[in-house]
Subunit: 221 residues, 2 copies
DNA sequence: TTTTGTGAATTGCTTCACAGCA
DNA sequence: TGCTGTGAAGCAATTCACAAAA
């Protein structure tokens, strides 16, 4: 049994993250069991969608009996690979970079930022983050640090012009996954996973849903 | 002619934002014309995809002749509704909220944050943002301020427990679009557009692409 | 009856293949 | 030839409908 690893739809993997989030909430509220209908309702999804998504990754319950929150939680974490903590490094200690270094949400979800780099001499040597302070180091130390601590995840928060060269350096240093906050399409080799956060895209989607669409519909007549 | 407003695929609207970004780059480099193939290549998309996406929104070129960058840029902005500046307000002046207030990218893409709110007395009265400083006001003033300046867009950066009530307040104050940074599914009425930025989801997608998938495949054997 | 899991049908999105134009 | 725009085909994702189990 287990896992039709053949062809898992990308949207299903995205929703898996949402299930995890919701299961954590249920678990925190001491809820023991949950049905596909209830889990779906909390996320505005249908019960069928929930069951189908889970089915891509294996067997999670028995026919007729609802899911056990704790077990489902545990197994979804394993599937996503966040049951073990991953070390991450961050490059670019600007406003957003500093905010990310102070962000506790990472640790709670299995990610720990252990090193930060910048090229600005004014920033090098600073310590950022209250709970677990991190000293900002020169970018030239990235390679050695990544290798020494075998860091596989890089967070990219640099100016647009620096994005591609810094990403290349990350890859050269053994980084396999990049969380990219720079509005650029990074061109990297196969085997490197990139996930981009682009605020402009999100804002424009919102804009389109109201302004944009309205305008198009008006023009249609 | 113009706009099969019937059924525009969501992914096509997302890509429209990417086209806009790339066209801005081309325009900044004084490039006058671009083919669907060239535009696609810059974004790792096929030429067919680019043409099909544009076709959802109307006629953009003449058969046989490449697109004019400036014209395409202008029309995509109009479609997305970002040709006019939208005023926005922000609630929650924590680390991330402050970083967003200092972020210049918004203005460049047609969004201007004009007001910020928080409930923490220690933060109220602070000014944030270098170029266009904004004074942090008590949350109780949100309604009046949003109405007075007819603000339609809200940026939500509050703790998880406050997300739903603050979102409700935004809607009551006339906000129609919410950019949500809180990892919660907001339950709001129809006619309110929500776009969520969830860093954990992005990180988990990355994790799955390497760890997760690998693990599932191992289990498959 | 209520629930899970899943073939079958459906809907939605992307790619192919080519007409029409410069 | 090289390009855009688009019907038709192909593929991917979702929903329907129901069997099996408690």
């Amino acid at each position: 049994m287990i896992a039709k690893s053949e062809n898992i739809p990308t949207p299903a993997v995205r929703r898996l993250s949402l299930y995890l989030r919701q299961l954590e909430t249920f678990h925190a509220n001491d809820r023991r069991t949950v049905s596909s209908k209830q889990l779906g309702a909390a996320l505005s999804l249908t019960d069928t969608q929930v069951r189908r998504d889970l089915a891509y990754f294996g067997q999670f319950g028995h026919a007729g009996v609802v899911y056990c929150v704790a077990e489902l939680l545990h197994r979804v974490r394993r599937i996503l690979g966040t049951d073990k903590v991953s070390k991450a490094l961050l490059v670019g200690v600007g406003n957003l970079g500093r905010a990310l270094l102070s962000f506790h949400g990472f640790a709670r979800r299995g990610f720990e930022v252990v090193a930060a780099f910048d090229t600005d001499p004014a920033k090098i040597g600073m310590t950022v983050g209250a709970q677990r302070p991190i000293r900002v180091r020169p970018l030239s130390e990235l390679h050695a640090a990544a290798r020494a601590q075998s860091i596989r995840l890089g967070i990219l928060v640099v100016p647009t012009s620096a994005a591609q060269p810094v990403a290349d350096e990350m890859v050269a240093a053994g980084i396999k996954r990049i969380l990219n906050f720079v509005p650029v399409r990074l061109q990297l080799g196969r085997g490197i996973a990139v996930s981009s956060v682009d605020l402009a895209v999100n804002l424009e989607q919102l804009s389109f849903q109201l302004n944009g669409l309205a305008m198009v519909q008006v023009q249609t007549g």
